[in-house]
Amino acid sequence: MNNIFVFCELDEGKVADVSLELLTKGRSLANELKCELETVIIGSKLSGIEAQIAPYGTDTIYIADDKRLEHYLTLPFTTIIVDLFKKEQPQIALFGASSIGRDLAPRVSSALKSGLTADCTSLVIGAHEDKKEGKNYENLLYQIRPAFGGNIIATIINPDCRPQMATVREGVMKKEFFNKNHKSKVVTIDVSKIVSDADFVVEIIERHMEARKVDIKKSQVIVSGGYGVGSKENFDKLFDLAEVLGGEVGASRAAVDAGFVDHARQVGQTGVTVRPKLYIACGISGQVQHTAGMEESAMIISINTDASAPINKIADYAIVGDVGEVIPRLIAAYKKHSK
């Protein structure tokens, strides 16, 4: 009772990275709150799945295994989670801010009439004093996220409703083994007793999942472009530089929205969070939505025609100039030095 729950989602049969990252975060929050960390996973043919989860330090794994649950469906997943949360009364429940988590968590929060904060970039335990009501709260979950287009950072709390629910995007939290030999208690959920036929009114007719092609998070060098790059053709120059440096190409939301590159490359609040050794920001003005996803890069170089662009406030080196002219010169300089 009153523990921390992490919803573990499956990514083509494997536990998703975002869930393992949340387990790592959940473990440290549980230690701080001196409560247990529990996990729920829903799917089909899940025997042995606990081996993927236990090393991240969860105390208990609830497994709902049913052939009808092979692919994510809103209604039965909601029914199972709501039933479990009503019984177990968690104080905190964490979901990945994925297309599954962002579909499931609000439905669950509505059913439990509890508060949910989307896309948190930081989760911290803290106190709160409600001066108006004269109440003091200890050990609340501070759900910290950018808001208003990233121009403010808001700390959200759920003083009175439980569970305190939050979603977090992949890559925001660090994934770390707690103990490779850690053993978790496994509890099997009797699915047929909880779900009904009414939960299966929505049917999946067709499904085409693509293998993850680009994963810029793993790259040590990221050449990233913003709206200022100007065109899809100019983005080719970024790909040239990335190739020479052995890196990947990233982008700001504005560049993705403009259709210059695929969403998989988007860095920032609504994309991935990256921490490469080198981040080269080309034609990126540096709005907080973007910098939230790259400011922990070990070194940041900006290329911008505007010397006063906000990105230059966090950059180590600011090259004032046109991306189209600068990149070929950088390539030439690299080739000269690497000879």
């Binding site: 950072i153 808001a154 700390t155 999946i204 080196y317 600011a318 000269k336």
Partner: protein
């Protein structure tokens, strides 16, 4: 097939995408006055899906439902200009401070007062980016939800076929109607305003907006009932005030920190080849690049 009654949920939002230099004050905080109020972009994608159903199944109607202050009537008008049939403005002081849960409760109460087959909304609004209200409305109405919709393929025998665009691929699902659908930005853009509808509806107004008009204007207005944008209050939708506003919102904003860029001294370089050579030399020397 008989016509379908479609409700489109739309929100008026500050245009946070165009936070240019003038939108930031000298102290690094947001200058809200410099941000124009717009029709939430993904709600326009939702409207287009609704209008396509209306095009395909004659006799269908599209109703805009928006919640907000009086000025949000502009969203209803914008919908009418593009092909919606009518609209409602859900407005009441008691809604102020509502989080997503209280908002979805209010909207679900309003929807219960309306006749509908399909409810369509944008996936998320750009001022909050939460994507929570759609699923929460669906839960409160006890309806299935289809999120991340990219296109509504067809409606057959009380079922609707929808293509969803997910992070990793596409999925086509079949759902019974009524249901709640939320639409992605990857769906087709909304058609522009139609000149004929613009002429027809430019005087569409709420009761509150009509208060400042002359008697003659009101007379003409009354003769054209399609120009009336209905307002709905808490009492009209029979909502329980305890579930609205700040008191009905489980989440509270503990603190807001305006983002002020922490100044750090970037070493400034020109785009000359000489500077580029020096920079690459530095990156190699400190092992940022190479071994």
């Amino acid at each position: 097939m008989k016509g379908l009654k479609i409700i489109v949920l739309a929100k008026q939002v500050p245009d946070t995408r165009n936070v240019g230099k003038d939108a930031m004050k000298a102290d690094g905080t947001v200058n809200r006055a410099a941000l124009p109020a717009i029709f939430n972009p993904e709600d326009l994608n939702a409207l287009e899906q609704a209008l396509r159903i209306k095009d395909t199944y004659p006799g269908s109607t599209v109703t805009i439902l928006t919640m907000g202050p009086g000025r949000a009537a502009e969203v209803v008008r914008e919908g009418l200009y593009r092909g919606a049939d009518n609209g409602y403005l859900l407005t009441d002081r008691a809604f102020a401070g509502s989080d997503t849960l209280a908002t979805s409760y209010a909207i679900s109460c309003a929807i219960k007062k309306l006749d509908y087959d399909i409810i369509i909304a944008g996936r998320q609004a750009i001022d909050g980016d939460t994507a929570q209200v759609g699923p929460q409305v669906a839960e409160k109405l006890g309806l299935p939800q289809i999120t991340y919709a990219e296109s509504i393929e067809k409606v057959v025998k009380n079922r609707i076929i929808i293509k969803r665009r997910l992070e990793r691929g596409v999925e086509t699902v079949s759902s019974p109607i009524p249901c709640v659908i939320t639409v992605n930005a990857s769906a087709p853009e909304c058609r522009p305003r139609n000149a004929k509808y613009l002429m027809k509806f430019k005087h569409a107004k709420t009761v509150t907006e009509l208060q400042s008009e002359t008697e003659d204007y009101l007379k003409i207005h009354q003769m054209r009932p399609y120009l009336r944008i209905a307002e709905m209050s808490v009492a009209d939708v029979q909502a329980d005030v305890n579930w609205l506003g700040l008191s009905g919102s489980p989440t509270k904003v503990k603190s807001i920190q305006n983002v002020v860029f922490a100044a750090k001294d970037a070493k400034q370089l020109t785009s000359d080849q000489k500077d580029m050579d020096w920079l690459m030399g530095e990156l190699m020397a400190n092992h940022t690049l190479g071994a």
